[in-house]
Symmetry: C2
Subunit: 357 residues, 2 copies
Amino acid sequence: MKQQTFAFTRSENLKQKPDASTLQFGKVFTDHMFTMDYTAETGWHDPQIVPYAPLELDPAAMCFHYGQTVFEGLKAYVTKEGKVLLFRPDKNFERLNRSNDRLCIPRLDEEVALEALRQLISVEKDWIPTAEGTSLYIRPFIISTEPFLGVAASISYKFIIILSPVGAYYKEGINPVSIAVENDYVRAVKGGTGDAKTGGNYAASLKAQEVAAASGFSQVLWLDGVEKKYIEEVGSMNVFFKIDGEIVTPQLNGSILQGVTRDSVLQLLKHWGYPVTERRVSIAEVVQAQKEGKLEEAFGTGTAAVISPVGKLFYEGETYEINNGVTGEVAKRVYDTIVGIQKGELEDTFGWTIEVN
Amino acid sequence: MKQQTFAFTRSENLKQKPDASTLQFGKVFTDHMFTMDYTAETGWHDPQIVPYAPLELDPAAMCFHYGQTVFEGLKAYVTKEGKVLLFRPDKNFERLNRSNDRLCIPRLDEEVALEALRQLISVEKDWIPTAEGTSLYIRPFIISTEPFLGVAASISYKFIIILSPVGAYYKEGINPVSIAVENDYVRAVKGGTGDAKTGGNYAASLKAQEVAAASGFSQVLWLDGVEKKYIEEVGSMNVFFKIDGEIVTPQLNGSILQGVTRDSVLQLLKHWGYPVTERRVSIAEVVQAQKEGKLEEAFGTGTAAVISPVGKLFYEGETYEINNGVTGEVAKRVYDTIVGIQKGELEDTFGWTIEVN
């Protein structure tokens, strides 16, 4: 199956492509999508590229009731020479399978999934925008489809890849955002699903995000669910701090998502010789460092925004301005480097990009 | 709107009704469903009863990605006199709105929802099975439908009610089940979504359930996510213990679902004069009571099974047989009473049932 060309039904009504200057995040979709079905008897089968169209699902389909869904997010870029590049897609499909394990969803063949993505991108390559800050966002996802109201793993699933030409995820771009430490709501806890990319984690985050937004903050800084002391993530990103020269990020503990951008940032920083540590980071340590003038930078990392510097941090009634509210040197350097590699403008010394023919 | 008769499109292909003796749980659905849409501009609108049919949703619909869904479960019964009874449906729609609040989904008018249910049941009343142990299971649910890949609350939703004639939820019926205490996985934590009826909680539970089932246990006993000491729920039910004459159930703490059956059981037990306490119950206390011969009963409570006695409890390598593995007197009494009231065979002194015309 790995060498095969998947069945392809071309859309008869091609859409008009949007003006790159007006692109938002995740609102416009391309002409085609990849789909593949799973049944207990046949396993994963019927891979095909078909016109982007509504899914028809029984109202009792389990994904509507019991949240047994997983997803991924990655991006494709076109280089100045017209080459199409994917950034570490193997890591995304590896993680999708780890999410599958946690959610009791049958594993995909990662090579088949990657080949599916290549062929879909190849069909849709004219949809990849080239303007500054734009890219083609890729959303592979799996939903449970069995029409059954008992609480159990579904016996049928659908794997789908859709594509969306996007502008910057945050209107602020690489400009610093204001975040508030969340004391009431919890995103995930050890033993839960925090390290899987599944809908429930995001659903759980909406309320805190709404409360923070009402107070003028664009993101929430999540603390651990057990002691409410240790920093986990910021919004839907991993988070890094530069404290007195050391760059620290919360260690993977079962409730933190193992971000591909997080891993790329760690590799880059080590390569450049920065002292980098993955360890527990308490909010008390961060605030104390800020008070002593030792909190040099804070930034989030994720596929959608790549790097999102933190300019303001609200905690226990106080607002702290980090690095005078401007983007720090490290944040800028990792952003420029990762985006440069993604767009083929910098040498890919780590072998992170894959070219789509 | 409350007095209105909702638009009704009758199905032109009525299904054959299943043989009551072969009914399983939640696998067969009736001829019609109720649907109502929400958009930010119009609010909830277009309530209607339509033929049961697949939902058509954009592949980017947020419910497939970010888990912003809520649901309820309740049952309808036909009495010997042919009256159709609902059991405390007002409590379900109250809870649906509490779940909506937690998940950032716009509230429903509870009276409209109840009227929708009445009219749908009225259309489908011939689908209510009458054999022992059977009923018509009702599944109201809300899904987020906006086609958007940003993590935010959706701006559009669909509220749907589907109906399923069901047999007993557990093949064991009122017979005792074997359960295992879960030490690794966590269902929910304070600050999370454990007290909302949303998909993510159920998705998080599947893995532990799979592990327990592989060892021959039919359910998992969930401990709190913070200290892993205190009992929260059993499977997808609330749980009660009778220890040395006192009946205890874990107090509502933000991570435990506020069960309608739990509340009914509490009211009945108090009415009958049993000493009943809602408090923290540790697994250590339960095991100690068992060792001292003071653990008289354990049972789960939920809409699907009503009452599910626990016959065996596995914890830290030991299997404990509760009440010699047979259904206890209290479990039997609350089961018979609640089912008797639900079916109109016992006097409804609490005013729990509502008749559908």
